[in-house]
Amino acid sequence: MSATIRHLWTPLSTTPLLWLVVTLAAYAGGRWMQRACGGSPFASPVLIAILIVGTIMVSTGTSYDTYFAGAQFIHFLLGPVTVALAVPLAENFALVRRHISSIGLALLAGSLTSVISGVGIVWLLGGSRSVALSMAPKAVTTPIAMAVSHQIGGVPALTASLAILGGILAAIIGRHMLARFQIDDWRAHGLAAGVAGSGIAAAQVAAIDEIGAAFAALGIGLNGLLTALLVPLLAALWR
């Protein structure tokens, strides 16, 4: 029996097609599980898919290079999706014009807080430089976060995981925490979710309030641009 499986597995395991199918199936499974959990942010399809694929890789002794030979076709689309973020950003330009000073100040303050506190806490607790650099861009939308991390010498895979974890945390606690500080304006909720928790937190706000959704989209796009400008400069100073 196991000989038959090995017979089938050995030639399959090296074709790129197998790992493309595994990745798509794991993500579809993650989506299904999130729906089954009533859309809970805990059941992130990305995290579930990473766990499933990771488990299959480790248990079959597959190297990351072999896996990536198949998965690179999906990975390649990170570039075009980053460019595509211009569409929601441009559609909300009118909102930026109307609240330019509020948005500008809040964005700058929130973005700097995220980068400096992330790097600072890692440094204070004795973490390594590469972990600190991977932490710096983690608040922005994952494709931009990974590109910036790669640029400054962080570990893009670590940054991707941190971005997802931060997004889940922001989605879970954001609304209640801000309500406790008497913040009831959805423009503030939306922008904060977009700046601090990118797509995952933004989706949570977008499901509740339409204005919040527009400001969350703005927060994601503008913080992506600002962080991509700011973090490489700050990283160049910190040598």
Binding site: G79, A86, A90, V148, L158, G197
Partner: protein, 130 residues
């Protein structure tokens, strides 16, 4: 769909070329996003319509709606980083939680305060000595 992909990948290519030519420290796709946003902004200004062209919009929104899938290949690379995470789990966990909470709060508070502050330049009757 082909023309939308052409626009997206074209902007990315121009972004990469600009990055290489001027040694920008910014990722090529981000430069591409900025270019496309500027082009769409100019177009919206000229036509008076904020909506993105129907040629581009469905593909862009479809990609964004399934963005999570695109992180999986890179995210799986975390398996190779398991050693780092085991060694430095404390700074990693505290920094993710701490900086996410601080950034949420600071962004929302600044937004909240600045939106509530009335514009002093507006011709209200606050200065009247009546």
């Amino acid at each position: 769909m082909p023309s939308a992909m052409l626009i997206l990948v074209g902007c990315q290519l121009v972004g990469e070329l600009l990055r290489n030519a001027f040694q920008f420290p910014i990722p090529g796709p981000v430069i591409g996003m900025f270019l496309l946003a500027v082009i769409l902004g100019i177009r919206a200004n000229r036509t008076g319509n904020d909506r993105a062209p129907p040629l581009l919009k469905p593909t862009a929104e479809g990609l964004i709606a399934n963005m999570g899938l695109l992180f999986v290949p890179a995210g799986v690379g975390i398996v190779a980083e398991a050693g780092v995470i085991r060694r430095e789990w404390l700074p990693i966990v505290v920094a993710v939680a701490g900086s996410t909470i601080l950034s949420l709060l600071v962004t929302a508070l600044v937004m909240h305060w600045t939106l509530r502050t009335p514009h002093t330049s507006s011709p209200d009757h606050q200065g009247d000595a009546s």
